[in-house]
């Protein structure tokens, strides 16, 4: 399935394959394709352009140094990069959130930061979907966007666009498969367990 996804998307696939092979051009290609994605993720998370630039720089450099860890059969390169960016964002949060411990209320300690990972997950998925959407073939993108932004049925999409019903169906299926593969390896691609787990106090876990 993932193999097919890699082949289906030539551009992403080519970057992923070259990335795995350690081709130095792969980092540049990955930056061209995913630079705005990663930078936007960092900028939205950190709300500071300078910090976002540092975050994006650290993400690409550490991704490149750890490129052996990327497995194209388990996920998409964009999703993998956002996973690393998320890591950097969390580090930045921890650095900035390191304030004196408020009195007593241990479970509440992380109240503010506990909500962050879930928010990052959503942001990450949203950006990956938007990014994937922009890389769909124009006709597929058109019907997928209609499906996204309206409550039209297949038949209504067909009537609205003049695209035959069978084509609408196959385009939507292709679009969906593409979006699924784009999210593979992202937070959403994993079982939902990570999200609920974020509720727990980080340090409290060691007592469990």
């Amino acid at each position: 399935m993932q193999r097919e996804a890699v082949e289906r998307d030539e551009a992403d696939g080519a970057v992923g394959v070259r990335w795995v092979a350690g081709d130095p051009d792969a980092l540049r290609l990955a930056y061209e394709r995913f630079g705005a994605l990663v930078f936007t993720f960092c900028a939205r998370s950190l709300a500071d352009r300078d910090a976002a630039a540092d975050c994006a720089q650290e993400t690409f450099v550490s991704a490149w140094k750890s490129r052996d860890n990327f497995d194209p059969t388990r996920g998409n390169l964009g999703a993998w990069l956002l996973g690393i960016a998320r890591y950097r964002v969390m580090d930045a949060y921890r650095r900035s959130a390191r304030t004196p411990v408020p009195g007593g209320d241990l479970p509440g300690l992380d109240a503010a930061s506990a909500s962050e990972p879930a928010r990052e997950d959503q942001l990450s998925d949203r950006l990956l979907v938007a990014h994937a959407l922009e890389h769909l073939q124009p006709r597929v993108r058109k019907v997928v966007e209609l499906a996204f932004y309206s409550d039209l049925t297949h038949a209504e999409i067909s009537a609205r666009t003049g695209i035959p019903l069978g084509t609408v169906k196959s385009d939507l299926r292709r679009g969906l498969e593409r979006l699924r593969s784009e999210l593979a390896g992202s937070q959403r691609g994993r079982a939902g367990s990570d999200r609920t787990a974020t509720e727990s106090n980080e340090k409290g876990r060691q007592d469990a």
Partner: protein, 203 residues
């Protein structure tokens, strides 16, 4: 809802739902971002071929792919690690089974090392060979972190024997990241965010 493969439409809509209410506006990275990345990811040749003590700075997974560099970097790292490693290895020569190992990536200014998860008669241990990880203030702490970087388990202050018992019942694959951090002595049990070494096990 619509006709036949309605679930596909529903799945698409659920994927697109947040875009409906909150469309994505892409941020343009600063123009120099790529050059900054390239400069750090591809250090100039003279730096790469620098003498061994200097080249220890670039110990990374990357070196696996560059035999010549690996050799130089490896020589430097091996010397440093060998001393620490020997202590560990001889101390426990009934070593058990290695489940996973990883080189550690340097995140701060100093330090290098590697880590191994070992199964010793059913109890799991982290073996950490790390050098140059003494902070000027505070102490050095060792952690396991989940892949989502949302859950941390402290294995405590760094130990001179490099051996850490994992909590019984812990699935090491659920916490595949090993992290070494500098921590101030402020009584705050949380991770400081000041990581100096980090690696990820593949099980």
């Amino acid at each position: 809802m619509p006709e036949q493969p309605a679930d596909e439409l529903e799945e698409l809509r659920s994927l697109g739902q947040t875009l409906r209410t909150d469309p994505v506006v892409w941020e343009t990275p600063p123009p120099d971002l790529w050059s900054r990345i390239a400069a750090e990811a591809f250090p100039p040749a003279d730096e790469r071929d620098a003498p061994a003590d200097d080249s220890a700075r670039v110990v990374s997974l990357e070196s696996r792919r560059r035999p010549r560099m690996l050799w130089m970097v490896g020589a430097a790292a091996a010397l440093l690690i060998a001393v620490a490693a020997r202590v560990v290895m001889t101390r426990s020569s009934d070593d058990g089974t290695v489940l996973a190992s990883t080189e550690l990536e340097r995140l701060g200014d100093t330090g290098q090392g590697s880590a191994t998860i070992v199964d010793r008669n059913g109890s799991l241990q982290l073996r950490l060979d790390a050098t140059d990880v003494e902070p000027t203030d505070g102490f050095t702490e060792v952690w396991l972190i989940n892949a989502g970087v949302t859950e941390l388990i402290s294995l405590g202050p760094i130990r001179s024997d490099g051996t850490y018992d994992l909590p019984a019942g812990l699935d090491p694959a659920a916490f595949p990241i090993v992290d070494v951090s500098f921590e101030p002595l402020d009584g705050n049990p949380q991770h400081s965010g000041d990581s100096v070494l980090r690696g990820q096990f593949t099980f």
